[in-house]
Amino acid sequence: MKLNPILNLHPLTKLYFSLFVTISVIIIPSYIFAFTWFPILLVIAIIAGVGKQYLDIVVKALVLLLGIVFIMQLFFYPGDQVIGEWWIFEATKEGLQYGLVLTSRVLAMGSAFILFFRITEIRDFVKALEDLGMPPMGAYIVLSTLQIIPEMRRQAHTIMEAQKTRGVETEGSLLIRAKAFIPILTPLILSSIASTEERAITLESRAFSAPTKKTSLHKLKRSNSDRTIPIVLLILMISLIIWRFFL
């Protein structure tokens, strides 16, 4: 995994690429162009070794959304070239056209960013933002939230177990589980608030607000690809704009 050429790219390079995909589908109106992005992104994910998870997330996150968007446009986009009928609804050619454009764009943008988060460690991304000048407090908030969520989930689980031993029903239908969840909220929230104060002291004992410039063991590498890819993307972007608006 350490040697994977895609995973090893600098987080900003990956971000530039996702932005490039997003902007390109806005510039180029063709839905065929926009739909082409998805297979390309999938190939990248496969090379990065995360193809299966990536496909999984895209399907879960986007397919239903895209389906709904497409049907809404197909039947409700104003137009008069009727191409089909269903019950009291009429599908129009304009609707079909616009539905395809919209879904292709959403698919390209959505899957580009899903790919970004799939192949970028948040920790690296935050570090990249810090290098760009994000204040340490901002970085702290993002990273600690990231770490504390699984911790809270664990804690919730412990409290649930404790309540189960006291005879509270915690398994069964959605309603039963929802009911069981409410009483754990109070201890969960109270204990998080109490630990916030101590956490602030912990940070302080680790010299968080020391009046010096911090150093970091975590260094992001910038390879040759990280220098060339952004330039290539920029040139492509400018060519796309010229081709679209001036030719």
């Binding site: 940070l203 004992s205 607000s209 020391a210 410039k213 970091s216």
Partner: protein
């Protein structure tokens, strides 16, 4: 010798409470001394630590009277950030002493040095040394959130001593540790003393205090009721009135004296009891 910590007529009340939980406290600590703070639950030990570290009044507001002077300067004149390098504070609850932003014990221990702006090569060297010292090398790659209470206590101690502060304030560092773990921690603390650090330790395990500490401060309901060298405090009959534990051997010795077995002196360490009996015996048989 120079007093590195000086506290004069200090009283403190937490913002929401009505009573003062530290009352008119006066003492001083010499550079390089190892001082134990003892007292029952709620006596104010942790609050006293907070006052020395400057969390009272910089973090916990409330009402503070009197003076707290660290290294010749009033605590109120320090900025909170400056004190981090001077005073290391390991506090009571091992579960909240994790920065929450690091994914391995190694990085967790390095965090303080990063904040102090220490160059990376130096950080790596120092962290390696401390992991060895505190005996947690095997945990280096583990997620700090997935450690047991005792392991967290060791990591918390390591994360502070790696910053190499002149003064160490340590609040019950062994509450989650087994006997061997406890001995380990005390070895580390003794080493810190040998390196010239000033150590303040809150601890309930009196046997270990008798063995390692130079002086004791006894807190009772917020007042500093006794202070002095460990031996003097434990042999003072006044100590018994506060219902605080004795070292086990002292307890036994006091019982012996109670039933009429005379002792030459009051022992505070295990090996001293036979000595005290023998001295008494020899005197009687001369």
């Amino acid at each position: 010798m120079k007093n590195i910590i000086e506290i004069k007529n200090m009283s403190y009340r937490y913002p929401v409470s009505d009573d003062f939980c530290l009352k008119n406290i006066t003492f001083s600590i010499q550079k390089g001394a190892f001082t134990a703070i003892v007292g029952n639950n709620g006596a104010g030990k942790t609050t006293l630590c907070n006052a020395i570290r400057g969390f009272v009044p910089h973090f916990y507001k409330g009402e503070l009277a009197g003076e707290v002077i660290v290294d010749g300067k009033q605590i109120v004149d320090y900025q909170l950030g400056q004190l981090g390098e001077k005073i290391g504070y390991v506090f009571q609850n091992p579960f909240s002493q994790i920065s929450g932003v690091k994914d391995s014990v190694f990085n967790e221990v390095a965090y303080g040095l990063e904040n102090l702006g220490v160059p990376v090569d130096e950080i790596i060297q120092k962290v390696e040394d401390v992991l060895k010292l505190v005996n947690i090398e095997h945990l280096r790659g583990k997620n700090p959130f997935e450690l047991s209470g005792g392991q967290r206590q060791r990591v918390a101690l390591a994360a502070i001593i790696v910053m190499d502060p002149d003064i160490l304030v340590i609040d019950e560092p062994t509450s989650q540790l087994d006997p061997i773990g406890t001995e380990d921690i005390f070895d580390v603390i003794r080493l810190m003393k040998e390196r010239g650090k000033t150590v303040l330790l809150v601890e309930h395990k009196m046997d270990l205090i008798a063995e390692y500490a130079d002086n004791i401060l006894v807190l009772h309901e917020g007042a500093l009721v006794m202070q002095g060298p460990v031996r003097e405090v434990f042999s003072d009959p006044k100590y018994a009135t506060f219902n605080i534990q004795y070292p086990h051997v002292t307890e036994v010795a006091l019982n012996l004296i109670d039933i009429g077995v005379p002792l030459k002196f009051i022992p505070i360490r295990n090996e001293e009891l036979p000595k005290a009996l023998k001295m008494e015996w020899e005197e009687n048989n001369d």
